[in-house]
Amino acid sequence: MEITELTVHELQEKLKKQEITITEIVGAYAKRIEEKEPEVQSFVTTLIEEAKKQAKEIEEKVKSGEITSDFAGIPIGIKDNLCTKGVRTTCSSRMLENFVAPYDATVVEKLNQENMIDLGKLNMDEFAMGGSTEYSYFKKTKNPWNLSKVPGGSSGGSAAAVAAGLVPWALGSDTGGSIRQPASFCGVVGLKPTYGLVSRYGLVAFASSLDQVGPITKDVRDSAMLLNLIAGHDEKDTTSAKREKIDYTKCLTQDIKGLKIGVPKEFFGEGINPEVKASLEKAIETYRLLGAEIREFSLDIANYSLAAYYIIACAEASSNLGRFDGIRYGYRTPEFSDLKELYKKSRSEGFGPEVKRRIMLGTYVLSSGYYDAYYKKAQQVRTLVMNEFNQGYNQFDVILTPTSPTVAFTIGSKSNNPLEMYLSDICTVSVNVAGLPAISIPCGVDKEGMPIGMQLIGNKFQEETILKAAYAYEQQVNFREQYKPQFKS
């Protein structure tokens, strides 16, 4: 197998056995990026030369024993809404086209501590708003399985880069499905941790009460390993939880006998693509074979989650994005006659259509006279969603759903229909609304060969349970060996 096809734990084994070197790994990725990035368009900024230089330095230090981390020299890609000191962080927006943060996000700092190598900043929907990465100001990322399809979003660059072998793994962020849906569209593994497990410091905020950083990887073991690196309380983020450190790889065993899996019927009804449904049903059968207890149940509040989600997310976004005003950093309109015009033009010219749409929605729902009818009601729905999930977890260990009702759609087919785009989040948003952990793993392809994703949702801070369930399935089905991205055009 090519170096760029290996998972991180496979790379680590080869490094340990001295079958490959760090410079070889980075060299292989540099070559792969050179070959495939022009087709996939997953990076906003590549750091090839820096990475090569770093590889040499780290290799020396590993040899001399100065560095001992198992992750030293392992490359990674980082979604472009995570701040990296000295390297621009654009959020794929004109607003931040030239913004260079003077600090690292906490998760980035953690990777640096392990002496990992950043291959670049990955494309996304502008400010993480969207489900196709078409709303990037810079470029449209293509799905490596079929270049005429979207990679999903908003972490589309991260998922496409992992699927195309341009990075061994990547960090994404997930506010309403932005890790899981692109992972599903690109046939890779995406994990959204419990709200509060991973620090948000340095993640450019979209919706503060929903955002989480998480891994996008080739397999479940890598997902657990990357989660190990980024999880944990951060004094700079008071919403991050103080909990005992867990080694998430310890739970990865094939034995899931007696695991109680709930299948909410609302997620398999109207609007779901028949091929997706069939693939999920097959996955459920596999779980049954593995000894899990499967039962259907009703999670009808899920029908209201999408509305609540868009109200809360837009409200928070309208406030979070106020700071992009052309005063201190970011885009400033070249000509203005007074302060009001400076604001108006900088924001009109700096933000794209989807961001503007959500700022306007959010401003509206928070306005006096509308607050109670929208924002307050949405928060009430949020409580109900949490309660209903809680009831679910009285009966089940894991809740199983499709990650998205469809496979990756054709570029341009939904970008002019925001409502239809919002509907592709229907399976993922309730997880963020309830603050739960969920993982998307590939469970098949449709007849055109496009990957289908399965979502496993756990109770709060029960990442181990979903990782274990995902791992058992992955070992049984071996998707990665059966299917590979074809770069069809």
Binding site: S208, T239, S318, S319, G322, F324, R328, Y329, L366
Partner: protein, 479 residues
């Protein structure tokens, strides 16, 4: 209808900067007067991705202020975002508290001509200060200084219980005094660490309904607050008398012209879109935490005043004045202890020191010398080293360039002349020069003695021991 038929109804929103070492949501220093944008970091500059972390001292200080003003302390509270655009507000929202303030339902008691009066407090909440815009003479534009952005504030909101400019001033002075006592704010009005928004309305006496109010923001001197209130109330009365209507609006007080001006046009009515800040967890205070803070509360002005009346035997008026400022009160107590002469210390404070403060329009906290130096002054007079008239000169020196009073008198050659021979020489000389006074005295005009002593003092530039002078003159005159 005359002015007397109307009454003024006022409420004050007082902002006090808390004297915590660091800002409310980051660890930048809070000190005043630094070079622009040197007390800043990515958090208070609102760089993307940064998050606020609440400074626990801010909560502690606000709870202290709550206790000192008889408030109920909320067990559950939260931070909210107040959204609006302005260049001095880097996040485009101010983190404040909307519907669940830390403290509610308090009161402050003030002395009025009609006796004691309670001004009720609606609430005290915590929030962050904004930065400052400085006019740039070179470009003609504005420059943003974010040193003050994120400095912690408490906002103390009163009910509309205030009825006159005098009451407003008394209330504000009392509030200032309380905040100084509990050491949560230095209350330096010139530096803007204490400022008030004043809501003024008028109504016909006996009318239960409140009139439409106008608001004057960011007032930071007692004098201009009183002037502004008087002007604005009269303006409103004039409008009403002419059959006009008061517009609810924000006004700017101009101290130079002595007038108020409309500040915002009405189309721009702000909708702050308050909502709970999702970056911060709710504030939960335990009973234990709250009672611990209550225990650490220092003596408040009222208690000190009582003590001064009982322990030191001060008059009601003196006790009021000294206890009104923590700084004066501390100065009084420490200097009294060290000198053993509280009566003299009291006299210095209420007369000469207060006079100088008034003349220079300064606050007690600006007194440059310390209690030790004041005590020394008192003791030097008590010992007879200097006369009290020299003492007054020493005090002026202390205000100008504080140092050891002993050094001052040595340097200036002000040591009192108590040498009998020296005094006698002066007395003889003055008597020789003033034969008429001797005759007057002998004719029964006692005033002549005073004149002679005065002349002798003049001659010695106030350094002669007045007691000895008196005795010596008497002795010589009755010879």
């Amino acid at each position: 209808m005359s002015k007397e038929d109307y009454e003024i109804v006022m409420g004050l929103e007082v902002h006090a900067e808390l004297s915590t070492k660091t800002k409310i949501f980051c660890s930048c220093p809070t000190g005043f007067g630094a070079e622009p944008n040197t007390h800043t970091c990515p958090i208070c500059m609102a760089m993307p991705g940064t998050l606020p972390v609440l400074n626990e001292k801010v909560v502690e200080y606000a709870v202290k202020a709550g206790f000192a003003t008889n408030c109920e302390i909320a067990r559950h509270s939260k931070n909210d975002r107040k959204n609006y655009f302005y260049p001095d507000l880097p996040k485009a929202y101010q983190i404040s508290q909307f519907d669940k303030p830390l403290c509610e339902h308090g009161y402050v008691e003030i002395e009025t001509e009609e006796g004691k009066k309670k001004i009720r407090l609606t609430r005290i909440h915590i929030e962050e200060d904004a930065g400052k815009l400085n006019h740039d003479e070179y470009s003609g534009g504005s420059l943003v200084d974010l040193n003050r952005a994120g400095v912690p504030l408490i906002e103390i909101v009163s009910e509309p219980d205030i009825r006159s400019a005098k009451e407003a001033e008394t209330y504000l002075r009392k509030l200032k005094s309380i905040l100084e006592y509990i050491e949560v704010s230095d209350c330096k009005m010139q530096e803007g660490s204490l400022r008030a928004d004043v809501n003024v309305s008028v109504r016909k006496k006996g009318d239960p309904k409140l009139g439409t109010r106008t608001e004057m923001k960011n007032m930071n001197s007692f004098r201009s607050i009183a002037r502004a209130i008087r002007y604005e109330a009269q303006r409103q009365i004039d409008v009403l008398k002419e059959g006009g209507k008061i517009e609810q609006e924000t006004l700017r007080w101009d101290d130079v012209s002595g007038r108020t001006f409309s500040m915002r046009d009405k189309e721009d009515a702000q909708d702050y879109r308050y909502f709970p800040d999702p970056d911060l967890v709710a504030i939960h205070l335990t009973d234990e935490y709250i009672s611990k803070i209550r225990e650490t509360l220092p003596e408040l002005p009222e208690t000190r005043k009582k003590r001064y009346l009982e322990e030191y035997g001060l008059s009601q008026k003196d006790a009021n004045l000294i206890s009104s400022s923590k700084y004066l009160a501390d100065l009084f107590e420490k200097a009294s202890q060290e000198s053993g002469n509280p009566k003299a210390v009291n006299n210095w404070i209420i007369s000469d020191i207060s006079r100088i403060l008034n003349e220079t329009e300064s606050e007690p906290i600006e007194i440059p010398f310390d209690s030790h130096q004041l005590a020394k002054l008192v003791m030097l007079i008590d010992k007879g080293t200097i006369s009290s008239s020299i003492g007054k000169k020493v005090l002026v020196e202390l205000f100008e360039k504080p140092r050891d009073p002993e050094d001052i008198i040595a340097e200036k050659g002000w040591v009192q002349i108590s040498d009998e021979g020296a005094i006698l020489a002066v007395v003889t000389q003055i008597l020789e020069q003033n034969p008429q006074s001797i005759a007057d005295y002998k004719a029964g005009k006692d005033r002549a003695l005073g004149f002679l002593v005065g002349q002798a003092m003049k001659q010695t530039k106030g350094k002669a021991n007045p007691k000895m002078l008196n005795e010596m003159f008497l002795k010589e005159l009755t010879k």
